[in-house]
């Protein structure tokens, strides 16, 4: 952290980018005593220009590239990229692939929420929570290794046309076992912790009108009292066939967001169990994509695809001019809104000691903000 005196009691304080846990992102805080006068987000440390890079590559290459949009939930971004290409090409994915995709996307959500719980815990001084969450997350990474071959980056496992490899037989037995373990862990973290309540309750309150105006989505807006989830509002893949709830809170503070995080993990586990039970037989990739063809043309057109990733609403706007490569790709990352307008708004007039609780309760990912 860097301190620079401005006035008598006013200081400028840099939160990040070298702060442990802030990610490749920083906020410049103007502080008067203990109170934050104004906050300004400073993104760009992870800007890789995916939107431009994708214009130069084939969809099959972009599938691999889409891993990197958000490091912490690579599979979810794989899925939305694949959906955009499929909708442009008018491809119906085999049933089995749709179920596998849902299983992977939900495993990815649990894994990402465990990180959320972990960094929120360590940010507010609860070291055990961090170790617990990251330890249990490793069980899911083991599953990813078994199914996709990569622990963090699946290398485009969910690709246009379906998925790259079939679900291994052993995965069907291992996934429920891992879910059992994680549900046990959730029961443990659910217990009301007085220190946790003291640090999170009433901190960083986001009212619903503000949340809509600032562009908050996903868990953040659900914690402010709006019942919305792309999986229910606009079901993609086979989400309409499963029975699950959308957790909603009214308070809009950091504690509400933390509770949503815990409850969503349970709901995701519920979806995975149903998907495993109903998993149909058949192809796992469309035959047109099962053999790699480099000259496959994308028909002229445009699509805007929305998905619910762990952090909120993700969107891809893809335009094609009839060539083999997409003409324009616009990626909408949920953290772009959460970490710039929402964070700046919540930090204004907050206490300096509440910065970690506010920052990590938003579950931001600098990678999908900068793209």
């Amino acid at each position: 952290m860097e301190l620079e005196a401005i006035g008598k009691n006013e200081y400028e304080l840099f939160f990040g980018p070298a702060h442990p846990g802030s990610g490749n992102f920083s906020v410049k805080l103007k502080i008067d005593g203990e109170r934050i006068v104004s906050a300004r987000a400073d993104p760009g440390y992870l800007h890789r220009g995916f939107e431009k890079l994708m214009e130069y590559r084939l969809p099959i290459q972009n599938a691999v590239l889409s891993d990197r949009i958000c490091i912490l939930e690579a599979l979810a971004w794989n899925l939305i990229h694949a959906e955009a290409v499929e909708e442009l090409m008018g491809i119906e994915v085999p049933e089995r692939a749709k179920y596998i995709r849902v299983i992977m996307a939900e495993l990815s959500r649990i894994q990402s929420h465990l990180i959320w719980y972990g960094v929120l815990s360590i940010g507010t001084g609860f070291d055990t929570g961090f170790k617990l969450a990251f330890g249990y997350r490793d069980f899911i990474l083991d599953l990813f290794e078994l199914i996709t071959g990569g622990r963090v980056y699946p290398a485009g496992y969910i690709c246009p046309g379906g998925v790259r490899r079939d679900l291994p037989e052993s995965a069907k037995e291992r996934i429920p076992k891992v879910l059992d373990k994680i549900e046990k862990m959730i029961d443990f973290v659910r217990a009301e912790n007085p220190a946790n309540i003291a640090r999170l309750k009433g901190v960083g309150v986001l009212k619903l009108d503000d949340a809509i105006r600032l562009g908050a989505t996903g868990p953040v807006i659900r914690a402010s009292g709006l019942k919305t989830d792309v999986r229910k509002d606009e079901p993609y893949e086979v989400y309409d066939r499963f029975d699950f709830e959308i957790p909603v809170r009214k308070e809009g503070d950091a504690y509400a967001r933390y509770q949503i995080c815990i409850e969503e993990m349970e709901q995701s586990a519920k979806i995975i169990r149903q998907a495993l039970k109903d998993l149909p037989d058949g192809d796992f990739i469309d035959e047109r994509f099962s053999k790699l063809k480099l000259n496959m043309k994308i028909p002229e057109g445009e699509v805007y695809v929305r998905n619910e990733v762990a952090r909120g609403e993700a969107g891809i706007y893809m335009v094609s001019d009839g060539g083999t490569k997409p003409y324009r790709v616009k990626i909408r990352g949920p953290s772009f809104l959460h970490l710039i307008p929402v964070l700046e708004f919540l930090l204004k007039d907050a206490q300096i000691a509440d910065v970690p609780a506010i920052y990590w309760s938003l579950n931001g990912c600098p990678a999908d903000m900068d793209r």
């Binding site: 760009g44 220009g49 105006r213 600032l214 805007y304 969107g315």
Partner: protein, 167 residues
């Protein structure tokens, strides 16, 4: 069908080309000078959430195609508003007054990457790029391969010479 009703409501007030792309997707094309008025109108219809805002560069047609994607929490529909502006002098009124900060930050990004001037936006300072003096990088006529070669590779260096060879 609610998608049709929305287009009809807009057509009563504005001169637009509208179509239903598929279930829950509506596309509306409008002239740039009427854009803000239309955005205000659809926000009152329930499109409270500006999901995204984007620019597509069409150098052959000489235009920037601006797209605004707004979602209605009430009707569960996404509307895409499209308009075209001259790409050599890209200027358009900001929708900051309509959607607030969420529009402001999207416009700030597009200003940086495409050079579009959003009139009425209070803050269009650089976002991702630092000390950028070239033309906006997401324009189709910006060759990033050339830029990388010029700035990051050395022709005299034996190991980097390969980047300068014609493929």
């Amino acid at each position: 069908m609610i998608e049709k009703e929305i287009i009809d409501k807009i057509k009563k007030k504005f001169e637009v080309e509208g179509s239903v792309q598929r279930e829950r997707r509506v596309i509306v094309k409008i002239a740039p000078d009427k854009l803000v008025e239309l955005c205000e109108f659809i926000k009152d219809l329930g499109f409270e959430h500006l999901s995204s805002l984007s620019v597509t560069d069409w150098p052959k047609r000489g235009i920037y195609e601006l797209t605004y994607h707004a979602w209605s929490y009430k009707d569960k529909i996404l509307i895409t508003i499209k308009t075209g502006i001259n790409r050599d002098k890209p200027e358009i009124d900001s929708v900051y007054a309509v959607w607030g900060e969420s529009a402001q930050i999207h416009e700030r990004e597009m200003h940086e990457l495409f050079g579009v001037e959003y009139k009425g936006n209070p803050d269009l300072s650089p976002l991702f790029l630092e000390e950028w003096h070239e033309k906006p990088p997401f324009r189709k006529d910006f060759d990033w391969r050339e830029y990388v070669r010029k700035n990051f590779y050395d022709k005299e260096n034996e190991r980097e010479r390969v980047y300068f060879e014609e493929v």
